[in-house]
């Protein structure tokens, strides 16, 4: 077992987040910026995609025509037995246009938030010069040092071209490094300023067009067609250009459309029936009634909610290749989480020194610490830290030859000037090393085995320490208990997930015993030990056969089949092109923990839609109580009892309802963009909460709102 793990890229990215969080605020400036777009969207061709608002636009056009024609056809007259003021039709017409504009504004604002991001991305796409290798032959000249280069525009690169990029140059297109290693500044797409290392052959061979090579020289094979690069796709996603409606959105649209049809029928059939009862209603009032009843609030905000949902992911540096994936994330029932980096910190930490019988604890501590002083790995540091806490003076000067860890010896150590040696490493290797001088006694052997087994069973990694004096007599000192430290707070997050109905499965290469111990400590529901990519794939298929939706993260090429099979496959940006192709999301921060955030965003997106739909429908109750008495109380005074809001006059009641209907869209834009609050609770509790807030609240709010608007409208002469 290795004591040295390669350095991982830094995991926290405060800067990228802070920058985007600020943008999330919703202000007047954004509204002004979005206004021209709102007017452009008034074109019927654009409106056609949103049937609910399209009907409002037709209504607005109709009432405007009526308002213009009115003076020539005998004034505003009366409706339902009540006289209406001359400015009534104009008032309704104006507010109907505003209703449409407000809805368009919501969409424009949502799109505007993505635009800034798209613009900065576009800058990276500017054409650069690429040095194409002609006749690249990896066998003869892998670094393309003696092969002729041709300079051409990056826009002319095609799939399969091989280019050379040297320090200071921009990488001309997406590709895989075929030779060389380099540090690359990817801040243009990730917002992360620390450079990352990219090298050929491993799981970090993918490079992205538009990022800058900071050191060294690499040979890159282009893997994307011009115009279809990663950055191109990102721009399209961020701008919402390639936004496709998700299944739930389509279903909701259908429900809204059928509600709209019901209300169209209600309004169309009203006049013949009312006519018989002797209470013909004017066309303007009918249009006002229709617009108030159809679900304009959700209809106007629906696309803004969808765009903002994608945007929230982008703000967390996650790119979803489709809205469908975001929605699927909300439905996920099984999460496959890699142990390392997600559940545990990427590195093990020394937790205990276990000295063998007859060995002074000091001796073991000293040997362990001294041999680790020159060890730069987190494990090495943690050994020194632990020893220091127990009284080891880390300032002492130690000279000697460091014996580095190799995969062959599976141990590291220090050769001191006096000829004595210290070694630490995997049990079998150390025993072999000790036994090369003298055989271990069976008591030592069994004591050591007991310690090693105990550490392993507890989920830790046993590191055996041995020393040899100047004469070459070796003995085992004891064991360092390297603990796989479970991340702080992760247990609570798993409990949250369980409450949300999501099962967590830990995937690890560890043996089943170690895996079981860590799984129990972290509180995951299940684990897959000694996992191979094939087993991962099989596990996903098994879960899916049981009707579960599976989410996972991955970075390696061998993860690709599993990523493709999973319902939500999040590829790490540090991963290979194959992994990024296979997954339906890419995490630019390469932080596997983010899977949990993605699930949360997916749910939030759905809940926001549901909440505003409920609110919109619940609003109709109050609007009926405003408009119906206004329409008929002139002929049937008894219906005045339905005017429970005590609105001033029929015209003020109807206009107030229309104004409220328009203004509520503006009021709810921030909610649509931000998304409703999501707390990880069980489904029933979330439902109770949201029904109370948006259902009951949706019934009450317009009663208050319309009354307030009415008090203001009353100030207009004639109303």
């Amino acid at each position: 077992m290795s004591t040295i793990t390669p350095l991982r890229p830094p995991e926290s990215h405060p800067t990228a987040h802070e920058a985007t969080e600020k943008k999330a605020a919703f202000g007047v400036a954004q509204l002004l910026e979005a206004t021209p777009g709102a007017f452009r969207k008034l074109h019927p061709r654009e409106m056609w995609h949103n049937p609910v608002m399209f009907i409002v636009e037709i209504g607005a056009a109709l009432t405007t025509a009526l308002a213009i024609a009115e003076p020539f056809i005998g004034g505003s007259g009366s409706s339902g037995g009540t006289a209406v003021p001359a400015s009534f039709t104009w008032g309704i017409a104006i507010w109907l246009w505003l209703t449409v504009l407000f809805a368009n504004l919501a969409e424009s604002v949502a799109e505007g938030r993505g635009k800034a991001q798209a613009d900065s991305l576009r800058k990276t796409r500017t054409s650069t010069t690429a040095n194409r290798v002609t006749g690249y032959d990896p066998a003869v000249d892998p670094m393309a040092e003696s092969t002729p280069l041709v300079a051409l525009s990056s826009a002319d690169l095609t799939l399969g071209d091989v280019v050379v990029v040297t320090a200071g140059e921009l990488i001309p297109g997406d590709g895989d490094i075929v030779a060389g290693i380099a540090s690359v500044d990817e801040s243009a797409i990730t917002g992360e300023s620390a450079p990352v290392v990219r090298e050929s052959g491993g799981d970090r061979s993918a490079v992205t067009g538009g990022t800058r090579v900071l050191s060294d020289r690499i040979v890159v094979e282009i893997t994307s067609k011009p115009g279809e690069t990663f950055v191109d796709r990102m721009i399209a996603l961020v701008e919402g250009a390639s936004r496709q409606k998700t299944p739930n959105e389509i279903a909701l649209n259908i429900l809204l459309a059928s509600l709209t049809i019901v209300f169209v029928i209600v309004t169309l059939t009203l006049n013949p029936i009312a006519g018989y009862a002797g209470s013909q209603v004017s066309l303007t009032v009918l249009v006002a009634l229709l617009v108030c009843l159809i679900p304009t609030t959700i209809g106007g905000l629906l696309s803004a909610i969808g765009i903002a949902g994608m945007d929230r992911l982008v703000q967390r540096n996650v790119l979803a290749m489709s809205g469908r994936a975001v929605e699927a994330a909300g439905d996920v029932t099984t999460l496959l989480l890699d142990k390392t980096g997600t559940i545990t910190y990427g590195n093990r930490q020394a937790a205990e020194f276990i000295a063998l019988a007859g060995v002074a604890p000091d001796a073991l501590r000293h040997a362990a610490a001294v041999s680790s002083l020159a060890d730069p790995t987190p494990e090495g540091k943690s050994i020194v830290d632990l020893a220091a806490r127990q009284g080891f003076d880390r300032q002492i000067a130690v000279s000697g030859d460091v014996v580095p860890f190799t995969a062959q010896t599976r141990m590291s150590g220090l050769d001191l000037p006096d000829g004595s040696q210290i070694r630490k490493g995997a049990g079998s290797s150390i025993i072999a090393w000790v036994e090369s001088s003298a055989a271990l006694s069976s008591t030592v052997r069994s004591e050591l085995d007991a310690h090693v087994e105990r550490v392993s069973n507890a989920g830790g990694t046993p590191l055996v320490v041995a020393s040899a004096d100047a004469t070459g007599v070796a003995r085992v000192l004891g064991v360092i208990y390297l603990k796989d430290v479970v991340k702080e707070g992760i247990t609570e997050r798993f409990a949250e997930l369980r409450a949300m109905g999501i099962r967590t499965v830990m995937v690890t290469g560890d043996n089943p015993l170690t895996a079981a111990a860590i799984a129990a400590e972290a509180g995951v529901d299940d684990f897959l030990a000694e996992a191979t990519p094939e087993q991962k794939l099989a596990l996903i298929k098994r879960e899916q056969d049981g009707g579960n939706l599976v989410a996972m993260t991955g970075d390696g090429t061998n993860d690709a089949p599993a990523l493709a099979q999973a319902d939500v496959g999040v590829a790490m940006n540090t991963g290979t092109s194959a992994a990024k192709e296979a997954g339906n999301m890419v995490d630019l921060d390469s932080d596997p923990t983010k899977l949990i955030d993605i699930v949360r965003i997916g749910k939030q997106l759905l809940i926001t839609r549901g909440a505003l739909t409920t609110f919109s429908i619940a609003n109709d109750v109050a609007k009926y109580f405003a408009i119906i008495p206004a329409m008929f109380a002139g002929v049937f005074p008894g219906l005045q009892v339905l005017n429970i809001m005590q609105l001033h006059s029929p015209s003020s009641a109807i206009l107030s309802a229309v104004i409220f209907n328009a203004v509520i869209i503006i009021v709810l834009i921030p909610l649509a963009l931000r998304g409703v609050k999501y707390r990880p609770l069980s489904a029933s509790r979330i439902l109770s909460r949201n029904l109370l807030l948006y259902g009951v609240g949706g019934v009450i709010a317009p009663f208050v709102g319309i009354k307030i608007v009415d008090l203001i409208v009353t100030l207009i002469p004639g109303f």
Partner: protein, 557 residues
Amino acid sequence: MDTLFAILQVATLVLFLVLLYRPLGDYIAHIYTGTKNLRVERGFYRMIGVDPTSEQTWRTYLRGVLAFSLVGVLVLYGIQRLQAVLPYSLGMPAIPEGLSFNTAISFVTNTNWQSYSPDVTMGYSVQLAGLAVQNFVSAAVGIAVAIALVRGFAYRRSGTIGNFWVDLTRGTLRLLLPLSIVTAVILIAGGVIQNFNGFTDVTTLTGGTQSIPGGPVASQEAIKMLGTNGGGFFNANSSHPFENPTAWTNLLQIVLMLAIPFSLPRAFGRIVGDNRQGYAILAVMSTIFVVSLSALSIFEASGAGSAPQLAGAAMEGKEDRFGIFGSTLFATTSTLTSTGAVDSMHDSFTSLGGMMPMLNMMLGEVAPGGVGSGLYGMLILAVIAVFIAGLLVGRTPEYLGKKLGPREIKLASLYILVTPTLVLAGTALSFAIPAVRDDVTSTSIYNSGLHGLSEVLYAFTSASNNNGSAFAGLTANTPWFNAALGAAMLLGRFIPIVLVLALAGSLAQQDRIPSTAGTLPTHRPQFVGLLVAVTVVIVALTYFPVITLGPLAEGLQ
């Protein structure tokens, strides 16, 4: 005294329904899931060339329903047109084309709207060979469609939803026929007549002569109630002493109307393998029923106006032997199921009271609704409620482990569109087309003004929802009403059935998703409340304007 009588009636009713719920529900589930066939059934399957072990896709199932119903309409039309040459016609002539058309549709669609006065229109042959047969099979068709939808929820990755011919046969032979025979005997014991006497002329006490009709009434009455048909043997329907002689037969008829519809949720729970789901649906139905019954009883007991106040309650149009509560309980039952039978005249209810039967039907008759149609109507509403609730909890909505995607929501939404469209369009057209309007106002409407509007609205509500209850007052045997109500009944029955079966097919194809803590539980009071709210809100939003113009404007004057 009245209160005590009311409490006793409710207690008896609840007791019977509680006693019936589990055994009858389980029996129904058993009928439609069993694999054994009776000998008579096997003979019948051989005769019509059906393999009872084969299952049908939803399209095939639907073709079966439509073909069977079309044949039913044609046969029933033929029998009526040929009445003059049939035996036991009591000398009555052939029934006119328009009326025959309307009546044929009316009985095949389980509506039993009667534009005619049966005592003087239909002889025994038409009653028995025509109408009674449809009373059985139209009810069996309704249950079959409901069971097909339930199978959609229960089946996993299945291309089929059962076999229509098997469902139809079993429903008729094993459920409706035995129950009808038993109840007919009880009804006879209760004083309902059963003879072939034709008309008997008697001399009354004052010396005048009166022609008293006889007939095989009890046998008709049993299936009229059990199958939520509602077509009376006499014009006065269940207020006629020969159909419904006493207060206890009145209560028995109420039990009969509710028996199967209230037990179907149990069958549903059994078939989907979770009885709690059945209880939830039952709770929704019961809640709406209790609220509606209370409202109507209050409106009638405290009826405004001088006559009701002198009488102590609005007794106009009600039978003394049933009293206020016997009448309101019957009216609520009849209009919340799709029966449409009456033991009192709804037209004579107080204005607000008259609104309640109308509202009951506008609810889509789902509490508990007609045999079968009530359950599938309620399940459609549950689909809508689950969809909204699913969005509110952040999961793709699923009901009983089945995902509700665009296709399912499309079908459910269209279902909800059908009856309001028919009701509102029918009512509006009656007043919008000048020639029709003249005919409607001069010939059909009995009371002018707002009450007349309610009469027309009631007729279209009743027909489109396949209830068959009449507000009285409206003369519906006119070319316009025979044709328009006929069309409303036809479309109001079969468009929903097409959508329900399509939904069943699409649900059956899905696998069943296991439920987790993130799944919305659909058996708790919370969901029951939501479903009640969705049911009421959808109706309230659709009908508020017309209700305001009709009964509300009249009642609030």
